[in-house]
Amino acid sequence: MKKNFLLLLTFLALGFGLTAQTSTPQMQQTAGEESDVFSPVGRWTLGVDAGLVFNTLDAGTAYMKNYTYMPRLSFSYGFNLRYQPYKWLALRTGLYYIPKDYVLMQVDSITINDKIEVFARGEMAQNGYLNVPFMADLSIGKKVRYHLFLGGYMGYWLNGSRSGGALPLMSVRDSYEYSEPYTFDKSRDNRFDAGLTYGLGISIPCSKRVGIDVNMHWYYGLTDLQKRLSRQHNPQYNTSFLLLVGATYTL
């Protein structure tokens, strides 16, 4: 709840910030200037973008000591489509391939026959998702426009792979390495993906119809990666930050 409260404050602050910006004298001129520049109002805009995604798996570890989920950086790409009924508001959707990867590390030690043995293993989990975001795109600015995105997304867990290894542990286990596709288990894996998206962005016009976008999106998963199999359940959620750079074309 504390995290959510901070989140709320951030957005409130952001909201007031935007209000302050919109009240500046320069912003009052927008109606007059629209006749001088190409206006996207009432038009469709197509865009492609690509960039980095930084994903975290949120899951409890309780007594699994030294068992850590670490975020992982990957590459995401996709296209977007937006319709702009008003200058300050557009409706935006798209299709994105988003790797929601993470790394699992376990480093531990035990004493066997008065000898300390280090036990270490690591696994890189790569999970490819197709996500379709639906966002309200609120924007301000004269030529360079500043965007606030709010909405949600739906998607599908498309594919996955697991690679990793472990150090040997006396006679208990040999060292091993592996790299293999992830085998989905219908009774365990929830491949439907949905959640909230919000973010910030800047769009820079290059010509009347062409522009450059730099966006930062936050995909906050609300669907558990696993189905509930037991009365005791440890839900797992993805949270992804995307930094995307792309180009747009207004039809």
Partner: protein, 452 residues
């Protein structure tokens, strides 16, 4: 527009604030390591056992027992024990027997203790229940060895009976070596039988114990140092055209024996199957499958020849791994009955097992050590003189269960079903007792002589 924008931003922020609270709360903060959980009531002992099994049992991917249903059924039973003025030993035992009934793991063995005026003690072993309901009769080793020694085609026999081992105060498996005439003149079949996979441990005492203890091993392998099969071993003798490894009644033991004593029957490293451990709190959270390889030592069978594993329902654990290895050899054959089905390897010490792999043996390991130390004195002695003083006010438990889920080379589940023989020959007690004929051994000899 200004006020609209403010309203939208505020509304959206509020919406997001509410929505981000929609993630389900994790219950893992309630999870306690069963190795360190302190129980002081019947109900808390049940909770710890149920949760430990829910998280650390490695066969949920195959097991058909509805563990949640078991919770709903037995939680009220254990709750009622805490409120009852008297709980009988029989009721306590029955509750745990029924809780574990039908679980696949044939290694599974649980000990539970509840203090009180008389101290309640319960023990479960669901695999034994399945074993007792099979139609397989198992073998009688003494009679089989007797039949072996009376064979007319016996060339040589060297045996060491495990029963003598108590003289030395260490656990020694019985070992038996025989040479039996082959199909053609001058041909022989080498036979080796041992009752447990503790040969490597036994060989550590070769400077202490008399040499006749090691004679069967030395005859077959050509060495009593546990380095595989040297050229001096009968197994490598050119006149030996086939080998029978008799694993009937072999109760298993240390996997350290597999490489020198079974892996040496191959010409190269053998993938016996694949293993995995639990990898999270979810019932189906598993690590990827890892190859279970038995390495071939440099001293190995020089020439490929038929190798038969003779097995029965009393071939357990490591004996079953050995059976799987022999089954995978180019000239390997398994003859006899299905094996017991306790194949998932384990680490009995719960600290090594559950604290490292989050699967397998769990609970108070000292309880198991006391059990092994004093069970010879009888359960009453154990409960009245050991547990009663040691666990005053505590409700300890210990569960011996597989650390590793194992499947065969083709990813077939073998736990609870055992290794099926290539040629099934059921144990025939009447013929063994009345005619002195071991029909399983006869079939193995026929296979080596005829190739069929």
């Amino acid at each position: 527009m200004k006020y609209s924008l403010v309203k939208i931003v505020l509304f959206s922020s509020l919406f997001l604030f509410i929505m981000t609270s929609c993630r389900k709360e994790s219950t893992v903060s309630d999870f306690v390591n069963p190795n360190s959980r302190v129980c002081t009531t019947y109900a808390s002992q049940f909770e710890a056992v149920w949760q430990g099994m829910d998280q650390g049992y490695v066969f949920w991917g195959h097991d058909t027992v509805n563990w949640d249903e078991r919770y709903r059924t037995f939680k009220p039973v254990f709750d009622s024990f805490d409120h009852a003025s008297y709980v009988s030993q029989a009721a306590y035992q029955q509750a745990y027997t029924d809780l574990f009934e039908g679980l696949l793991d044939h290694h599974l063995f649980g000990i539970f203790y509840a203090p009180g005026n008389n101290g309640k003690f319960a023990m479960v072993s669901p695999g034994v229940n399945e074993y007792e309901h099979t139609t397989y009769s198992g073998a009688e080793m003494e009679k089989e060895l007797d039949a072996l020694q009376k064979r007319s085609d016996l060339v040589k026999y060297i045996g060491y009976d495990a029963t003598i081992n108590y003289t030395y105060g260490i656990s020694i498996p019985g070992t038996h070596f025989a040479l039996i005439k082959g199909k053609n003149a001058g041909e022989m079949i080498a036979y080796f039988r041992f009752t447990g996979f503790s040969l490597s441990e036994l060989l550590q005492y070769r400077y202490v114990l008399p040499s006749y203890v090691f004679a069967p091993i030395k005859a077959f392998y050509g060495t009593d140092e546990g380095y595989g099969i040297t050229p001096k071993g009968y197994a490598n003798n050119d006149s030996v055209v086939g080998i029978i490894i008799d694993l009937r009644g072999n109760g298993g033991g240390s996997t350290a024996d597999l490489q020198p004593f079974i892996g040496s029957l191959a010409q190269q490293h053998s993938v016996v199957g694949y293993t995995r451990v639990k990898d999270g709190f979810g019932r189906l959270d598993y690590s990827p499958w890892a190859e279970y390889m038995v390495y071939c030592p440099s001293n190995h069978l020089l020439k490929e020849k038929p190798v038969v594993a003779l097995v029965d329902i009393n071939s357990v654990s490591c004996a079953e791994l050995a059976t799987m290895l022999i089954k995978g050899l180019p000239q390997g054959k398994v003859i006899g009955e299905r094996t017991y089905g306790a194949i998932g390897a384990l680490l009995p010490n719960s600290t090594y097992s559950h604290d490292l792999f989050y699967s397998g043996c769990m609970g108070d390991y000292t309880m198991y050590e006391y059990y092994r130390q004093y069970i010879g004195e009888g359960v009453d002695y154990l409960v009245q003189h050991v547990y009663r003083s040691e666990y005053k006010g505590k409700y300890p438990f210990y569960i011996y269960t597989s650390t590793f889920n194992m499947v065969d080379k083709d990813y077939n589940q073998v736990e609870g079903v055992g290794v099926k023989p290539d040629i099934e020959v059921l144990f025939n007690r009447n013929r063994l007792w009345n005619e002195g004929l071991d029909i399983q051994l006869e079939r193995a000899l026929r296979y080596i002589k005829t190739g069929r």
